[in-house]
């Protein structure tokens, strides 16, 4: 009897260790298999789905992404891809919610640019502008983000001008603040990025009313002149007279879109 108890006592560490190792090994193995499957599948998925119809492709793609997310919910990269799909489908609010979840494990430097874009598409311009300003703090020299913020600031000023013209009440102090903020930002970018044609256009827009029309004219001329009339491809040639005609329209109060080739 004593021998049996001793033998059982000696055996229990073997069972605890063995059971623990088996459980740990199996759980870890299955989890790793699932994580690896999701990682690989995510990368080959676009090539596996047929693309005859874009909306059908997107629908099937999103279903597959949701399936993979259920398998590996902590995969931030996968969730980021899912968020981009939601944005393409126009589901902006859900995209923002999923995006904030994805950022807990996958947070890129340009994350805030996407968030600002989503806020703009949802019509929340103030939030978009504030988010873009934050984005620029860690992307100070980015050639996409700086003009994107200027576009938002300019949009705010233009919206206020349009409201004034339509006879709606606009707070004068708010309008001045918006113009000043736009002015400072556009001059800052104009100084820092003299090779960005958009910087001239933004600066021109700032100077157009009521300050320095000649300055505006000069800025638009520099910004719009792409030397395309020097191009040997006839279809891409723009004559100088056309540039001057556009500037005349701008000066007369029909504002140009102050950016070229931005997303």
């Amino acid at each position: 009897m004593t021998e049996e108890i001793t033998t059982r006592k000696a055996a229990w560490p073997r069972y605890v260790l063995g059971g623990g190792a088996l459980l740990l090994g199996l759980i870890g193995f299955v989890w790793t298999m699932v994580a690896g499957y999701v990682d690989v599948k995510l990368r080959v998925l676009p090539t596996q789905l047929t693309r005859e119809n874009e909306s059908q492709f997107m629908a099937r793609y999103m279903i597959e992404l949701e399936r993979l997310l259920n398998l590996d919910p902590s995969n931030g990269f996968l969730r980021s891809v899912y968020v981009q799909g939601l944005a393409r489908q126009g589901q902006y609010r859900q995209a923002v919610a999923e995006f904030n979840e994805a950022r807990k494990t996958q947070n890129a430097q340009n994350s805030l640019f996407f968030l600002a874009d989503m806020y703009e598409k949802m019509g929340e311009i103030d939030k978009a502008e504030a988010t873009m300003a934050e984005c620029l703090k860690i992307n100070p020299t980015d050639r996409l983000f700086n003009p994107a913020r200027l576009r938002l600031l300019n949009k705010r000023v233009l919206d206020m001008k349009a409201a004034k013209k339509a006879g709606q009440p606009v707070d004068a102090a708010l309008y001045d603040t918006a113009r000043r903020e736009y002015g400072l930002a556009t001059i800052n970018w104009f100084i820092r990025a003299p090779h960005d044609k958009n910087s001239y256009l933004f600066y021109g827009n700032y100077n157009i009313e009521p300050l320095y029309p000649l300055q505006a004219y000069r800025s638009f001329l520099l910004g719009l002149s792409q030397n395309k009339y020097m191009n040997l491809n006839e279809q891409m040639m723009i004559q100088p007279q056309m540039v001057l005609g556009t500037i005349r329209q701008i000066i007369q109060g029909r504002f140009a879109k102050p950016y070229l080739n931005l997303p």
Binding site: P13, R14, Y15, L17, G18, G19, G20, A21, L22, L23, L24, G25, L26, G28, F29, W31, T32, M33, A35, G36, D39, V40, R43, V44, P73, S74, G76, R103, K104, T105, Q106, N107, A108, Q109, N110, S111, L112, E134, K137, I138, N139, P140, T141, D142
Partner: protein, 451 residues
């Protein structure tokens, strides 16, 4: 310190486990999954799957009685468990517990690999097999890396990887250097113990190949590790010779060995590389101030993150996702403008890791994690040295000294890289720890018998 007695003869199951573990060491560096961005991702998955499968097999072996269970836990096992506890504590602060646990599967697999190796009855034969495999791999990786420098490429890497030329199958020059640096000392251990000049010459030729490959890889961090490793080998080996009264011939031999190492590096650096027109500007690599400043920024970020949650940290693997939020908050503070020029230079990517293992543990697992890690590492540092001094056999002592040098190299490399979060350098680290533990256990057993 509870040290286990010697193991019984290996059963068929034990032999199977031995070959399984050897296969893990041999195959992990060769795994390439093309669809994944970098080779280390596929290698990490392979390592985790293989080791966890081996763990499950070991569990079956213990349950079925095919192998004896260890009687009690040794001190390093307790220290390892302490690290696991610190990790568990860090989960309380993690933004995503699942993500932290998933990310921890790799270092956990490393610890499991170490545990499985140490519980093998024929451990010493297994370690000798590991050594042969690692040296063979080092030769292959070095030759492949050198050929890559000349534009020869076996594998169809993606564009993200191709810009870093000397990468062998590891995928990045720094990762490759973290593997080859310690293996250099493993080769040195063979040079010390080999009988006959042919083996010694082959060993020295392998060391030359490894050094040439590391130089062509244009890495910096591992060099300090290698220098410290050489210094430690010289000093510890010299002290051993003095203590054992082996004579000035031996002391001179160590001094000469260090000098030979320095001369070899200098010849390669100032003779071989220019002759090969390798195009390496040493000064530019050493004083690349933007890279150095970006590293300092990561270190500063880790310290600041640790200060926010000092006890258990911010959660395992949370440094990277939290970095850009930290950078945004930091840029709004008074010291932010000082790092204004760093931000564009690290644009378009996340840091991945702190590039300093100790600071990363501090940021992610807090003071608790760092202390647990320090205790684990200091155990091997202190008792490893004692084991060398207590070793009566001269050849074995020299072998252990070389492996001690490998250990120091890894500890120093961890100041500038993240070798314990990459699969292949993690395996090399575990093999070195297993060697050291074996020597420590032998010394303790001999001491207990003598007592």
């Amino acid at each position: 310190m509870n040290i286990e007695p010697s193991k019984p003869a290996p059963s068929r199951f034990d032999r199977f486990m031995g070959w399984l573990l050897t296969a893990v060491v041999a195959l992990t560096p060769l795994v390439i999954v093309y669809v994944l961005a970098r080779p280390n991702l596929g290698q990490a998955y392979f390592l985790q799957l293989a080791v966890l499968a081996a763990t499950a097999c070991a569990g079956v072996g213990w349950l079925a009685g095919w192998r004896p269970a260890p009687r009690g836990l040794s001190l390093p096992a307790w220290l390892g468990l302490l690290n696991v506890l610190a990790f568990a504590g860090s989960l309380s602060a993690s933004q995503s517990v699942l993500f932290s646990i998933k990310s921890a599967l790799l270092p956990l697999s490393g610890l499991l690999f170490l545990g499985l190796t140490l519980t093998q009855p024929d451990r010493q034969r297994l370690l000798a097999r590991y050594r042969i495999v690692l040296i063979g791999l080092a030769v292959f990786l070095s030759i492949y890396g050198i050929l890559q420098h000349f534009g020869f490429e076996l594998l169809r890497y993606g564009s993200q990887i191709e810009k870093n030329k000397v990468i062998a199958t590891i995928g990045h020059p720094n990762y490759l250097a973290s593997v080859l640096g310690p293996v250099l000392f493993i080769v040195l251990s063979v040079v010390f113990t080999a009988k006959g000049w042919l083996k010694k010459s082959l060993g020295l030729a392998t060391i030359f190949l490894i050094l040439l490959c590391i130089l062509l890889a244009r890495t910096r961090g591992v060099w300090l590790g290698i220098m410290m490793g050489v210094l430690v080998v010289g000093v510890v080996g010299g002290l051993y010779c003095v203590r054992r009264q082996l004579g000035w011939r031996w002391v001179g031999g160590f001094a000469g060995g260090i000098a030979l190492m320095v001369v070899t590096i200098s010849v390669v650096l100032f003779g071989v590389l220019p002759a090969m027109k390798a195009g390496i500007d040493i000064r530019q690599r050493l004083v690349s101030d933007k890279e150095i400043k970006s590293r300092l920024y990561y270190w500063r970020a880790a310290v600041d993150q640790a200060a926010a949650k000092p006890v258990f940290g911010n959660g395992y693997a949370m440094f990277d996702p939290m970095f850009w939020d930290y950078a945004l908050a930091h840029q709004k503070t008074e010291s932010g403008p000082y790092y204004y020029d760093v931000v564009p230079s690290i644009a378009g990517r996340t840091p991945g890791h702190v590039h300093n293992e100790y600071l990363e543990v501090l940021a992610e697992q807090g003071v608790a994690g760092l202390l647990a890690l320090a205790a684990f590492l200091v155990f091997f540092l202190y008792f490893g040295y004692r084991a060398i001094m207590a070793e009566p056999e001269r050849a074995r002592a020299l072998e252990q000294t070389a492996l001690y040098g490998a250990y120091v190299t890894i500890l120093i490399d961890a100041l500038f890289a993240f070798p314990w979060r990459l699969p292949v350098s993690l395996i090399v680290f575990m093999v070195v720890l297993a060697w050291l533990y074996d020597a420590i256990e032998r010394a303790e057993t001999a001491h207990q018998h003598a007592a």
